[in-house]
Structure formats: structure tokens, C-alpha cells
Subunit: 155 residues, 4 copies
């Protein structure tokens, strides 16, 4: 019996930078770096998003997939998918990004609720078995992220 | 006869962080730092806007007024005044910011055309006589900006 | 037959921040991060040394040993062991640092010649088998270093 | 009667990066930026020295002289003039730097005592009349330094 929780499946209404939808199920066998962000969250823009993009470019061709998740839980009128598309273009984001499904009766979107994110940026590392091995709110420095992803790749 | 051009009057459709509209005419007698930006322009977000805000906080009470101008010339649907208001809130911008008046038959807004800005960020220094003393596209480092504003204050 | 070279043994005249001398042989079984530096080399001071120290603090208790090597190949009169000791104190360096043995008939010290370092900073990663897995001149970013060390730890 | 103190004359045993000795007296008529540092003081190396050098390069040809003062008050054996010369070379320092005269019966050198510096880095701004207009311990940000120097230039 595993001590680690299975990563909940993502609820996404729209994808950018990918030919088709991505899912936890179809990425089984790979290490997944999931970063939740909002395009007008300063800590996401200065730290989380560029870190994810650098990881994506550094690990292309390896068994790692970096996925962004736009988890808008406030100021919905300003952070629409139309605005997100401009943001991704202007910030040269080339890794896949999904738009978290708006909640039916909550400002908090669906995947954010499933994972229990307390805010943005949040980082989740999912192992080859589809299990959550790390989840944390806030910026994590490059050295620590590199170490964790490197270990998951080789275990 | 002066070698310096008078600063064109600003065409603004909406102001934030000020009780009433600001103008070149009413600020005569003060040094004005005008910075033109777009909320989804990476160089503006990482350099121009925080520099303007630091200048504003450092010089409060002095004869200097720092004014932001949201000169949207691309991606208009993503950078609306509603979105700008969220941006100013999230980035803790407390200096006055005006929304440049949309052009009638051009994507380039009115004040941007009057000043001939080639893009964002752009910085303009206006002296106590209402004349343009410096205008440049792109990020200018803190030391150089400080020197120029300091000189204008004492001349 | 391995494609990797065995790490040459270190020739050190004096150690700091360790109870006894360290060697490639006695660290067999652990991952070793060896960084060669000079205390008056700007790239070492701004990047290589603080990166090594952060790695040391992050991985304390893990099977990783971070070792600095003071490879003075120029300006020997200015970068003596006495000066190095002050440097380590002022820069709060707590990981072990050895002073590379001066060459008998060369300005280049002994270990630097054995490894073929072309300058400072240089970084070497040695695996649990005592083999060189990575060696490079110049600064390497935190994400890449973290990934490499993480992989060596789990393989 | 002035509220400002006259800047004490510098006691220097050796100069670098200048054809002849500099003094407060002979620089009368110019704005002087004096920064006191030690070559193994981390805050000096990362902030004070590069800021002084940028100021020097930015203001060449203007009525400003940037002067470094090596005020060694600890670890004298490690921070000799020979070591300082290497430091200035490696860090591409091109502005004039004087070595503060060692105290006869004190570890604190002569000019440091005359100015009452509490440590390094320290920054002093001297106006065209040879008076101290600003003196502070620790790093001061570029914007604030630029503003102060700009004002002194024009008053």
C-alpha cells in the first residue's frame, strides 16, 4: 500500500501549446511537473512561470512533461482565456498550459479544488506511477526543484 | 528661444490612484516623470513599472510627480481598463496611472501618437517649465534615471 | 568496461571546514560535487561559491558531499591560504575547502593539472563509484546542477 | 555659517588608477563620491564597488569624481595593497582608489577614524565646496544615489 496519493485528473476547459488535451492518465510513465498560476499574480510571473519554462526547455526529450494550469480564483473578468493567450505569447511560454474549469458554484476552479491548492503559484511533482510526490504553495528555488525532478527521473 | 519641445497635453480616458485628472498644464512648476507601459509587456512589468513606483515612493513630498500612462497599442481585448485595475492592485502600484485615449481610426492611442512613442516601456522627463528634457524607449537603469531627475529638481 | 574516467585523487596542502582530510577514495559510495575556484575570481565569488554552499546546506544528511578546491593558478601572492581563510569566514562558507598543492615547476597547482581544468570556476560531479560524470568550466545554472545531482543520487 | 562639516583631508599611503595623488583640497569645485570598502567585505564586492564603478563610467567628463578608499580595519594580513591591486584588476575597477593609511596604534586606519566610519561599505557625498552632504554605512540603492549626486551637480 502506497503512502502517496494518486494525482487527481485535471479538469481543463481549454489547452494552449499542445496538439491535444493532456491528462494524468495518458502521462503515466513520465515525471510530470504541474505548476498552477494566475497571469496577474506577481510571484507567478517573476518566478513560477519562467522556472517552469526553463525546466521545459532543459528537459525536452527526457521523460518529463511540464504542464501549466491557469487556476483563476479571483478577478475572473481580467484573466480570461483570451487574455491568457496574449500573456503566453508575450512571455514566450512554449510549454503546455490548460485553463482550469470554472467551478459551478464557486470562484475556485475545479482542479484547484481537487488538489486543494491554497493559492498561486503552487507546484506539484507527479511520479511515473501518477502519484503526488511533492506539493507546495509559493516559490521553490531552482536548486531544490532540480534535485527533486532529477531524483524522480532516476528512481 | 528654447531648444526643448513643450510636452504635449495628455489624452486620458480614465485615471487610477488620483483624486482628479492630471495634466501637463496643472503640473507646471514640478518635475514630471511620465512612463508609458502596457500591463502585459514583460519589460514594463519587470523593470519600468517597479522603477516608477520606487521613484514615486522615494520622492513623495518633493517637487516630483510620477505618472504612468497605459498606452495599449496591441492586444486591446486583453488589456482593458478593468484588467489594468486588477494589475495595479496586484502589483501594489500606488502612483497615478492614466489610460491613454483609444485612437479613432488607429490601434495606437492618442497620447502615444502625440509623443511619438515607438513602443513600451518609454520614459519621458518633463521639466518645471513643461518641456521634454528626455525621452527614450526601453529600460533605463536606476542610476541614470536618478541622476537625470536629481538634476532637473535642482536646476 | 566503463565509458567514464575515474576521478583523480586530490592533492591538497591544507583543509578548512573539515576535521580531517577528504579524498576521492574515502568518499566512495557518496555523490561528490567538486568545485574549483579562486577567491579573487569574480565569477566564482558571485556564482560558483554561493551555489556550492547552498547545495551543501540543502543536502546535509544526504549522500552528497560538496567540496571546494582553491586552485590558484595566477596572482599567488594575493591568494594565500591565510587570505583564503578570511574569505571563507567573511563569505560564511561552511562546506569543506582544500588548498590545491602548488605545482613544483608550474604556476598551475597539482590537482588542477590532473583534472585538466581550463580555469575557474570549474564544476565536477563524481558518482558513487568515484567516476567523473560531468566536468565543465564556467557557471552552470542551479536548475541544471540540481537535476544532475538528483539523478546521480538515485541511479 | 554652514550647517555642513568640511570633509577631512584623506590620509592615503598608495594610489591606484590615477596619475597622481587626489585630495579633498584639489577636488574643490567638483562633486566627490567617496566610497570606503574592504576587498573581502561581501557587501562591498556585490554592491558598493560595482555601484561606484558604474557611477564613474556614467559620469566621466562631468564635474564628478568617484574615489574608492580601501579602509582595512580587520584581517590586515589578507587585504594588503598587493592583494588589492589584483582585486582591482580582476573586478575591472577603473576609478581611482587610495589605500587608507594604517593607524599607528590602532587597527582602524587614519581616514576611517577622521570620518568616523562604522564599517564598510560606507558612502560619502562631498559637494563643490568640500562639505560632507551625505554619509552612511551600508548599501544605498542606485536610484537614491543617482538622485543625490544629480542634485549636488546642479545646485
Amino acid at each position: 500500500m502506497s503512502q502517496y496519493s494518486p494525482a487527481p485528473e485535471w479538469q481543463v476547459e481549454q489547452w494552449f501549446n499542445t496538439d491535444g488535451p493532456l491528462s494524468v492518465a495518458t502521462l503515466r510513465g513520465k515525471v510530470v511537473v504541474l505548476h498552477a498560476f494566475q497571469m496577474l499574480c506577481p510571484g507567478c510571473v517573476s518566478h513560477g512561470v519562467p522556472q517552469a519554462e526553463r525546466l521545459h526547455r532543459l528537459l525536452k526529450g527526457e521523460d518529463v512533461v511540464v504542464v501549466g494550469l491557469h487556476t483563476v480564483f479571483e478577478h475572473h473578468a481580467a484573466m480570461t482565456p483570451v487574455a491568457l493567450q496574449v500573456f503566453l505569447h508575450e512571455y514566450r511560454v512554449t510549454h503546455p498550459v490548460g485553463v482550469d474549469m470554472p467551478g459551478p458554484r464557486s470562484p475556485v476552479p475545479a482542479t484547484m479544488r481537487l488538489y486543494g491548492f491554497e493559492g498561486t503559484p503552487s507546484l506539484v511533482l507527479i511520479d511515473r506511477e501518477g502519484r503526488i510526490r511533492h506539493q507546495a504553495l509559493g516559490g521553490i528555488d531552482d536548486l531544490a526543484v532540480g534535485l527533486m525532478v532529477g531524483r524522480l527521473l532516476e528512481e
